[in-house]
């Protein structure tokens, strides 16, 4: 089901399409579409192109470098980028820490960090989870002690995505143990390139190492790098999570992946005919496509509420739940679609510079790792069970 667009919206879509089609090289497009791992350089190069065009941060207010687009235009932009195989803009800077700095940071922080985020000069990572603090995030124990004009930070963060690329971390630290747990947390911006910061990769079930343990040992953080007030970090962290949930739905990406699923299912042959003509498989695809259409409809509704002044309410948690269910559902059907050739696991084939012939059809190479990797989606960003707790409390009033 296509969106019904005004002539202006259609012209906007064509403008975006022309840009991304021209600017995303074929090799990059193929890698993004098939879930191959991109290098830091590939990400940064693309984000700098978007910056030059003025399109790297559509969600930002215009005065900070946003685009001033309508919700529909933002949505079309996402969709066109995904369809053209543009790498997603890494969320940690543009969509996660930036809104917090805008809302709660001081002028010096805004002036310094926001332009650097726009230009992709820094690579941010998120220091939230700890070994003992996953869903129960407020139990975090990484300690920050104020000593003169700086904090001394000790502790361990974990599941830190792409920390190996990062030079900055926004980090939740404990500055007080008295009172409610939520009230003793402080939001610090930490320079990763200093003694005492040790990044140790964690290998995941798909064989990749995109997440890390980050050990912080007597790390010095100037007071100037504290966002907002001491002990008020929980409020800022929650604000960030609310912002994350509309983008985490990733409707455009799922649309592109669904299209890929249909393409693969139409060349995979089962009992003498294309898999896509198998009634059972057809039903599965249709089911997930409808899930995706209602997700898209609700995203657009939430975005239009947002543009009319209401921030994303706790209902946005539904977008995170359904969005990740759809993403995972598609990866699952992709595995089913390739059948036998889900088996081979050749990690080198998913890296830059691999030139050998694929084992089995080329489209099968990364499908199983991608499926296993994507189980993360219902766990991160507040697990889907936590999202239900949020709705139960904030919407249903339990």
């Amino acid at each position: 089901m296509e969106l019904i667009l005004t002539p202006e919206e259609e012209a906007f879509r064509q403008e975006v399409r022309a840009f991304v089609t021209a600017e995303v090289p074929e090799e990059l497009r193929r890698k993004t579409m098939t879930g191959f791992r991109l290098s830091k350089e590939e990400h940064v190069t693309w984000q700098k192109k978007l910056f030059e065009k003025g399109w790297v941060a559509p969600g930002w207010p215009v005065e900070h470098g946003g685009t001033g687009w309508t919700p529909m235009e933002k949505h079309l932009f996402e969709e066109e980028c995904a369809a053209a195989g543009a790498p997603p803009v890494i969320a940690f800077g543009v969509t996660m820490v930036a809104p917090v700095i805008m809302a709660f940071g001081n002028d010096a922080q805004k002036d310094y960090y926001l332009p650097r985020i726009l230009r992709s000069d820094d690579w941010w990572c998120q220091g939230y989870s700890e070994p003992g603090s996953g869903s129960d995030l407020a139990s975090l124990r990484t300690k920050a002690v104020l000593t003169g004009d700086h904090y001394v930070v000790n502790g361990q963060k974990t599941w830190t995505s792409l920390a190996q690329h990062a030079n900055l971390m926004f980090c939740l630290t404990r500055t007080s143990d008295t009172g409610k747990r939520q009230e003793g947390i402080t939001f610090l911006l930490i320079d990763m390139e200093q003694p005492g910061v040790i990044v140790q990769p964690i290998k995941t079930i798909d064989g990749s190492t995109e997440i890390n343990n980050v050990f912080l040992e007597d790390v010095k953080v100037p007071v100037a790098n504290r966002v907002g007030e001491e002990d008020k970090g929980w409020t800022y962290a929650k604000y960030l999570l609310g912002h994350e949930r509309t983008s985490i739905a990733a409707v455009g990406r799922s649309k592109a992946q669904l299209k890929r699923l249909k393409t693969i299912a139409s060349v995979e042959i089962q009992e003498g005919k294309p898999l896509i003509e198998d009634q059972n498989f057809m039903d599965k695809i249709a089911t997930i496509e409808i899930d995706l259409l209602s997700l898209e409809s609700l995203v657009l509704r939430v975005l239009s509420d947002e543009s009319s002044g209401k921030g994303p309410g706790p209902e946005a948690s539904f977008l995170k739940i359904r969005g990740t269910e759809v993403q995972q559902g598609i990866t699952e059907l992709l595995v089913e679609a390739v059948g036998n050739y889900a088996h081979p696991y050749v990690p080198e084939a998913m890296q830059s510079g691999w030139n050998e012939d694929p084992i089995g059809p080329e489209h099968a190479a990364s499908i199983a790792p991608h499926y296993f990797n994507w189980r993360k989606a219902s766990i991160y960003g507040g697990s889907n069970e936590i999202q239900k707790n949020i709705i139960a409390k904030a919407v249903l009033g339990f």
Partner: protein
């Protein structure tokens, strides 16, 4: 495409919700159901007075010229009250068919009367052996001088017994499931050869099995093009599906609210059952089911007014699938979370469950629409 409600739509929803809350309580509905014909004619007159019957009828025919989205807003509110008055039969299906197929004279005669609450209609299209195949029409229309003679059976014709005019589909040519050859006729239910076997439905409405035995109609009874009714019926039924989904959205919303309220008051093991996380999450899933179904329904409502048949049907099927599975989840879970009380006729939750289930079973259930969606993809 806008996903925000207009100010007019917000006002309409407010006034319709207020009406349901004050004047259409669960007890009032029960009384209305027991009235002659299964609904309250005074309430119908009030609907007319409020402009609800005129809402989606063209301005040229005494209506307000509202969009399907506007009608959806009203139906959502009516769904909260499980309204039993014949809105779908008369306004959505009946007037919808007249508007889509009728001559200027037919429109001028019928539509203003519908808008004023003075004429009731029913669409007699579905047949006993048709299941969900819309173009399955066995009823025959044989030319007889300037008119036609109708023979056949029509199934589950909602509100036929109170209709002033039946709109009957019959085949003038072709085999049983041919797309071509179907014609709509305006039939007086009192005409010789029309027999109604009327009964209550499980969800509190009234319907009839309609038998046509050598029913004579004149040439002026033809509604639309001879043999060319299927595209009209498909469009009218598609639009009706969206508005049934809108009604379901209201019913689902009410069912979720009732269930959550019950969970906060019902105590077991010394505390409200709503304090148990396993039950909270089930209530959350009910709410999500409603939100997604509703969002897709309003999207489909904006598609049906502008899109071609393929795109229209695909949008409608997607909405009907989402409504079918959401309605089932909310109905079943709503009763379950009410425990034994949910099984009693005295509690509203079971009545929402029944209506939601029967909306799924009308004009194609979830599986039917899933297949149609896939086929059109």
């Amino acid at each position: 495409m806008s996903f925000a409600f207009t100010d007019d739509q917000k006002l309409l929803a407010e006034s319709a919700d207020r009406f349901i809350q004050n004047d259409y309580t669960f007890e009032a509905r029960r009384k209305n159901m027991e009235m002659d014909g299964g609904f309250n004619r005074a309430a119908w007159a009030q609907f007319a007075e409020l402009g609800w019957l005129a809402l989606a009828i063209p301005e040229a025919n005494g209506g307000l010229g509202g969009s399907t989205g506007d009608a959806a807003v009203l139906l959502e509110s009516l769904g909260r009250g499980l309204v039993v008055e014949p809105y779908h039969s008369t306004v959505v299906l009946g007037a919808g068919a007249v508007e889509a197929a009728g001559s200027i004279a037919q429109k001028n005669e019928i539509l203003p009367e519908v808008a004023a609450g003075k004429r009731l209609l029913a669409l007699a299209h579905v047949e006993p052996r048709a299941r969900f195949t819309l173009n399955h029409v066995e009823t025959s229309a044989i030319k007889d001088g300037g008119g036609y003679i109708l023979n056949g059976e029509k199934a589950i014709v909602h509100n036929a017994e109170t209709a002033d005019t039946l709109i009957v589909s019959a085949r003038v040519s072709g085999a049983t499931t041919d797309h071509d050859g179907v014609t709509l006729f305006l039939v007086d239910p009192a005409a010789k050869g029309v027999t109604l076997r009327s009964y209550p439905t499980i969800d509190g409405l009234r319907a009839s099995e309609v038998t046509l035995e050598a029913v004579q109609v004149g040439g002026e009874a033809i509604l639309g093009t001879l043999g060319g009714a299927m595209p009209v019926i498909e469009a009218v039924v598609d639009r009706a599906c969206v508005l049934l989904c809108a009604e379901a959205a209201g019913a689902m919303d009410a069912a979720v609210i009732l269930t959550v309220k019950y969970m906060k008051t019902r105590e077991q093991f010394g505390r409200p059952i709503g304090t148990f996380q396993v039950l909270q999450h089930r209530a959350v899933e009910m709410l999500g089911a409603k939100d997604f179904s509703r969002a897709l329904t309003y999207r489909a409502a904006s598609v049906v007014d502008v899109a071609g048949p393929r795109e229209r049907s695909r949008a409608v099927s997607a909405a009907k699938v989402e409504m079918g599975r959401s309605g089932k989840k909310i109905g079943q879970e709503g009763v379950q979370l009410h425990g034994g009380m949910g099984m009693t006729d005295d509690m509203a939750i079971g009545h929402y469950f029944k209506r939601l289930t029967m909306i799924d079973m009308l004009f194609g259930n979830t599986d039917h629409h899933l297949r149609r969606f896939a086929r059109l993809g």
